[in-house]
Amino acid sequence: MLSKTINKIYDTDIGYSFFNSKIAIISSTIFLIICLCSVFAGIVAPYNPFDPATVSLMDAFTPPMWSEGGNSSFILGTDQQGRDMFSTMIYGSRISLIVGFASIIFAMVLGVFLGVTAGYIGGMYEIVVMRLTDVQLTIPSILMALLVYGIARSIITQSMHDEMVMYVLIFAIGISEWPQFARVSRASTLVEKNKEYVSASRIIGLSNILIMFKHILPNILRPILVIATIGLALAIITESTLSFLGVGVPPTTPSLGTLIRFGNNFLFSGEWWITFFPAIFLIVLALSINLLGDWMRDALNPKLKKR
């Protein structure tokens, strides 16, 4: 059964391209492993670094187990608070991934909705939406995220900060990514809209909503998927950059960016592992997503298909 499915996938062009691209296989495997680890962090990670009661400050700055002074109970050593690096990274990647996925989904839903409707409906509505993307583009992502973050902080009550910070981050990153989706989906919609199957649906009398989201949307998913993948890597990096600038998730529940930010302070003092491992982890994560997106961009581009 499984082998049949695999064979079937292999038979498609995408599947073939995938199984013949070492990069695609390796990067998707890595990405999958990281995702699984972070989903099952409770099982994979030996400690729960987000539970302050289990962390002992006296364990702080333990080097990786193979270094002098290392300790086999902390494979990759501990950070400045005595948290196990390995566990903290797994849990941290969970935050990075949640923020990354959620913000991209948010951006995608918003952008695709506006883009498809703008492309399909046209007229004044389209002009307004496209001008909005222009305005949005004049405020680059980091700047936008800083703004949203600042505003949110001053509006949300203190006790809510911790609970809200994830949503704020998701909103802040998502809101700066949506124009990409809007532009691509609008452009694709403009192409699809003029295809005859859309005319056929209109002649049948299907409602515009149905045409846009049942007929057109599935046909423009490919480019959207590609920018979503690349956007995911970007969102994860943006999250880490915000954390680096000190406006990310609280330090008691560090994401990868927060870990690097703290670790960076110990770079010159010899505790290299605190920044090194999360940085490598982040790079590997972002790289695997980017490689995947890159492969996807080429594989899904009908214009580049080898005849």
């Binding site: 532009r183 005319s199 056929a200 002649i203 009398g205 299907l206 007929h215 046909n219």
Partner: protein, 572 residues
């Protein structure tokens, strides 16, 4: 010894699943002053041979065997020689003049570049020669126009520029790959005349690759018929067209709609020699059960009065976004200009005209895809547009359906065939039972002559002709009274075209359909229609009974169209 000798040529495309043989054991010769036609249906390998001569086969294709000699010089595997010969000894003309020229360079630059690559000429001489060339291919005011960019030329003019480029370095051989397919009849005629003329004047050898038997008949001396990479027959053009020996050639010739008479059905011969018969009788019982019997009252079904459509693309001043090129143009185009005609139940009315004549826009206005600027459209005596010029789709309730030109874009690639066909049924019969729906879908797929297994497949798994059948099935699903066919066969091979046309005739008889048949192809129109409306630049030139029109065209434009259309009979 011949000027061009192709011997034993094998070309194959290795893909991961199989190796596609694009040509096998191809042999032919060509002399100077001769025009050779290579004809065949899509996928027959005719273009591949042309590309093989100058070694421009798209990867991963490769020549696996054989030889190509020009003036007794072997070209195969001789990249150095080919490089010298390309453009110099062999000129090439592609199908689509819109994309053949680099949009960012002036005509001048492209001509001079080519000339200076091959001929030892200074800039001024090259420029002089370029102007000379443009004049030769019939471009007026060449001194000035040479400074223009490609997009400033019309399609036909552009193809002339392409030909000028092809002959710029005094080649001995011109290979023209579907040189007129993208052009209108009148322009096609001019381009073909130009080619013939150049052949004579310059004593060129010419290879024309085309799918159009009319073009073959009117232009070539010799012809090669190809199928599946094999030459099935070659010989003198007249000989071959009048008396094809192979089944394949016969099937090809017989499917060509005659220009001089009207026949009831096309006789169809499959390439292996058997006659194809179609019969859709008694397949419509279930459809009629679902939608009720409809009587043909021979009444006026559709009436257009003074319909005008003006495309006013003047965009709002702010309608430009950063970084994207502004696609809007400041043009006011009268696409449809005061068009009136009537359509009676059960008849087939032809709308004929060249590109830009407004025939497709009229179809779109009738189906509500485009709002008319002016005029009234009555369906069954009910106006289709209300006072706000809003389309009243509920007035026709699916009784007007349409078949489109491009079988590749008219089916949603993400839908299975079953869903494509059943969607309109479900839309109009919200509470249809599952069984009834299935039965309807089966009937429809049966009517259009496809297997029921096709229902669970996706459109990309089918050929163009099959897709057009699916398209017809979808159009029939709501049991329409009026079927609009917008160039339904212009993207299809001629034998497939014959099948689809036969099918349309069959279902018209079965279901008492009224058809509005839109085409630029006069022979097809002649075979399909009872009456014909001739359109030019959005205006009606004349409206007449078919035979009357072909035998006694009144309007000069009609006369010209009929005169210029390539006629396979011309050679007979």
């Amino acid at each position: 010894m011949s000027f061009l000798e192709v011997k034993n040529l094998d070309i194959s495309y290795p893909t991961r699943k199989e190796t596609i043989v694009a040509s096998k054991n191809v042999e032919f010769t060509l002399e100077r002053g001769e025009i050779l036609g290579i004809v065949g249906e899509s996928g027959s390998g005719k273009s591949t041979i042309a590309n093989a001569i100058i070694n421009l086969i798209d990867p991963p294709g490769e020549i696996t065997n054989g030889s190509i000699k020009i003036d007794n010089n072997e070209l195969r595997d001789n990249e150095e020689l080919i490089q010298k010969i390309r453009g110099k000894k062999i000129g090439f003309v592609f199908q689509d003049p819109q994309t053949s020229l680099n949009p960012l360079f002036k005509i001048k630059d492209q001509l001079i570049e080519t000339i200076q690559t091959h001929l030892n000429l200074g800039y001024q001489d090259a420029l002089k020669k370029s102007i000379q060339l443009l004049k030769e291919v019939g471009i007026d005011n060449a001194e000035k126009r040479i400074e223009d960019y490609p997009h400033q030329f019309s399609g036909g003019m552009r193809q002339r520029v392409v030909i000028a480029l092809a002959i710029s370095c005094e080649p001995d051989l011109i290979i023209a790959d579907e040189p007129t397919t993208a052009l209108d009849v009148s322009i096609q005629y001019q381009i073909l005349e130009l080619l013939k003329d150049l052949t004579k004047k310059r004593n060129l050898g010419v290879i024309i690759i085309t799918h159009d038997m009319g073009v073959i008949a009117e232009t070539t001396n010799k012809v090669i018929v190809m199928r599946d990479g094999l030459i099935v027959e070659q010989g003198d053009t007249k000989e071959l067209l009048t008396n094809p020996k192979s089944n394949e050639a016969r099937s090809l010739v017989i499917s060509v709609p005659p220009t001089n008479k009207k026949i009831d059905r096309f006789k169809l011969i499959s390439p292996d020699g058997k006659e194809i018969t179609s019969d859709s009788k008694n397949l419509t019982i279930n459809i009629i059960k679902t939608w009720g019997i409809r009587e043909n009252k021979n009444q006026k079904l559709l009436k257009l009065t003074d319909v005008t459509k003006i495309f006013d693309d003047r965009s709002l001043a702010i309608n430009i976004s950063f970084g994207s090129k502004n696609e809007s143009t400041d043009k006011v185009v009268k696409a449809v200009d005061n068009v009136s005609f009537e359509l009676f139940e059960g008849e087939t009315l032809g709308l004929v005209g060249e590109s830009g004549s407004g025939k497709s826009t009229i179809a779109k206005i009738i189906t509500g895809l485009v709002r008319p600027t002016n005029g009234e459209i009555f369906y069954n005596n009910i106006s289709l547009y209300n006072s706000n010029r809003k389309y009243q789709i509920d007035k026709s309730r699916g009784q007007i359906q349409m078949i489109f030109q491009d079988p590749y874009s008219s089916l949603n690639p993400r839908f299975k065939v079953r869903d494509i066909i059943s969607e309109p049924i479900k839309f109009f019969k919200k509470n249809i039972s599952h069984n009834e729906l299935t039965q309807n879908v089966y009937d429809l797929i049966d009517i259009v002559g496809m297997t029921r297994q096709s229902l669970d497949r996706y459109p990309h798994e089918f050929s163009g002709g099959q897709r057009q059948r699916i398209s017809i099935a979808r159009a029939l699903a709501t049991r329409p009274r009026l079927l609009i066919c917008d160039e339904p066969t212009s993207a299809l091979d001629v034998s497939i075209q014959a099948q689809i046309l036969n099918l349309l005739k069959d279902i018209q008889d079965e279901l008492h359909l009224t058809i509005l048949f839109i085409s630029h192809d006069l022979p097809v129109i002649r075979q399909m229609c009872n009456r014909i409306v001739v359109l030019k630049n959005g205006r009606v030139c004349e409206t007449k009974e078919t035979e009357e029109l072909f035998n006694n065209p009144e309007h000069p434009y009609t006369q010209e169209l009929i005169r210029l259309m390539p006629k396979i009979e011309s050679i007979i």
